[in-house]
Amino acid sequence: MTTTGVLARPAAPRPRPARILDWLTTTDHKKIGIMYLVNSFTFFAFAGALAMLMRTQLAQPGNTVLSPQAFNEDFTMHGTIMIFLVILPLLQGFGNYFVPLQIGALDMAFPRVNAASFWLLPVGGLTIVAGYLTHGGAAAAGWTNYVPLSLQEGTGEDLWILGLLIVGTSSLLGAINFIVTVLRLRAPGMSMSRVPIFTWATTTTSVLIVLAVPSLTAGLLMLLSDRHLGTVFFDPSHGGSVANYLNTFWFFGHPEVYMLIMGAWGVVSEIVPVFSRKPLYGYRFVILALMLIMALSFTVWGHHMYTTGLVNDLFFSVTTELISVPTGLLVLAWLFTLWKGKIRFEPPMLFALGMIAMFVIGGIDGVWMASPAADFSIHDTYFVVSHIHYVLIGGSLFGIFAAMYYWFPKMTGRMLNRKLGIWQFWLLIISFNVTFFPQHFLGLMGMPRRVATYPVSSGWGMLNLIETISAYVITVSMLVGLWNILTTLRKPRNAPADPWGGNSLEWATVSPPPPHNFDALPEIRSERPVRDLRLAISAAAKAAGPEEAAGPEEAVGPGGAAPEAAQ
């Protein structure tokens, strides 16, 4: 077999098309990864529709589209689903598909556990959503689910707790699987200092999950037993304390926000070098930054509790400001990678650049709120809503769309439409900013979050109306993306093995990869093995003479199909 054969079509026959039973019983990390994505995008559509309901309600002062109770249920479900069933599982879905490929492994370390962690997700998600069918309606205490409010809720609250316990178990099993896979199943030559940043980011995310999710589990169990078994963990009249919930929740909750963003950082760290035609600036420093953030994220939870008087504000203020240092290091690494690069503005790169810009806005909001003096005036206002959406949409979701456009050809063998991708990007980034940037002003003007309506005299009507109109444009941009995916899936499979001129091992196999991932692996001597291979091929071709040089170049060059002639 020749070197070019590594990148060409496999000698082995293609697997027969998957039937439904194959999907239901599969332990293949690639199919499970795709199921993660489909499941999460479905929940994304549902939670997005809830968001549109809320925006419609808030379009005018005194609106009555939703009752206050329905509004409370909607923002609770919106937040819970987006955080636990959309952003994190989407990143885990991409991780499922690409971590084994990036480290040259055959599958995850525990394929059956992997299937279990996927199937727990829709079960947990539907358990949470089933609250809508109960007499008292869905859980309505917000995604943070503070006591004592959550102690007074109806059956929907119990389903919320049970669903979250199931989803947490899913995350925990998945995280253990990722860490073991990365530690144990790396291909020869793939040392930890050559592992792609996306895989690194998935690993650090998984460490956070392993060490933080049990704290949430403990909090939820106490909540459940306070509600039904007569314990008094959160009841101050019997020596319990609301602080017990706040501490267990936020000891999980702050590492949680890093679980939601690290994967997106990883995606951007993959895409920016490829589309700048440069190595990632400071590869080792990026890893160091990820590890520092991973460790520091366990020391900042108290900044959610400044106004409670329960924590040492100064300590948590310092640690929170401190964590912005390695985060800034990441942004600098991406900017220096862009510097003097040959930048190609393909859709994945546009989303990655959008992610950097939007994440910086969200991050700077965070630095302001880390100051207790500022936080006391903007706590629980729309300023916080703006911040969380800048980091979760502008950061995580832009990263997820970047990953979608970047890896779609690898997953399906089909290239997404470039023009529609560019349309989706510009529609989204403009409407996203018009929707969420004014929320900074609303927050500073004192509009509290989680209110179903507001009076005319508040003067918040105009900005809210603009936001609502713009939110509908966000929906349009999502529909453009959906249309792009659906129409592309009907096209023939003609994507080359390496359409972008990639660096990491997933580009060294055909698109989509065979069930066993690789027929053969290239030698791994740096953190960019596929680029090394490409250079070796073109050097060999040059040595062989100019008339032969064209073949292999085409075989692996960006955008080139892998012609049989190259073999």
Binding site: M1, A12, A109, M222, T231, S241, N244, T248, N517, E523
Partner: protein, 208 residues
């Protein structure tokens, strides 16, 4: 223009990926041990959350345990913790057999001893649990007491089931060429033993 030195060689006639698949099978053998270490780390955080709340409540309370409540008897839990330590010792002996060249010969009797002692500890814990002389809702001390012991009991049951599964698989000869499931079960059981001792010290020795 071949450059086959860039590609790992493979035996003629086999599937081209066969070598990669073989290597993966070998490397995944130690995965269950790593996975169990991570699970135990997660479990440790889980119990640390409850013990942390215990510590905070202890610090905040003027009298601990609260004045006027009957303290749970220390007799049965003391016997229990001795049985638990014996079970851990039996597990350690089983692990010594697991690393001996004649493995899996001789391991079954130690695993049986560990399991029998584990079940005994579980029964003693359940007896102690039933005899706790106060109600669950009287105060934070009582709530924590019930919660922590209850969860410990759950983990003992889980550990006993895990041990039973590993023993059954050893019995059928399925594990003749593998030690990692036994090792993984042992790591979990060591965790339960350490947990049992910590809970005994905190709740019964220091806390009453």
């Amino acid at each position: 223009m071949t450059a086959s030195e860039h590609v790992p060689g493979h035996t003629a006639g086999r599937h081209p990926a066969a070598e990669l698949i073989d290597r993966q099978a070998v490397r995944s053998a130690s995965s269950s041990v790593t996975g169990m270490v991570l699970l135990v780390a997660s479990e440790a955080v889980f119990f640390a959350a409850f013990l942390g709340i215990y510590a905070v409540s202890y610090t905040a309370a003027r009298v601990w345990p609260p004045a006027g409540i009957p303290t749970p008897s220390i007799g049965v839990p003391t016997v229990g913790v001795v049985v638990l330590l014996a079970s851990g010792a039996a597990m350690a002996a089983a692990m010594r057999r697991a690393h001996a060249p004649e493995y899996p010969r001789g391991i079954m009797r130690w695993l049986t001893a560990a399991l029998a002692l584990a079940v005994a500890f579980g029964v003693l814990t359940a007896i102690g649990y039933a005899a706790i002389p106060f109600g669950v809702g009287q105060g934070i001390y009582e709530s924590l007491f019930y919660m922590i012991i209850g969860l410990e009991l759950g983990h003992v049951v889980g550990g006993a089931v895990l041990l039973g599964v590993v023993m059954a698989r050893t019995w059928t000869g399925e594990l003749t060429l593998r030690r990692d499931p036994v090792q993984a079960a042992a790591i979990y059981w060591y965790f339960v033993v350490v947990l049992g001792v910590v809970i005994y010290v905190v709740l019964y020795l220091a806390g009453s």
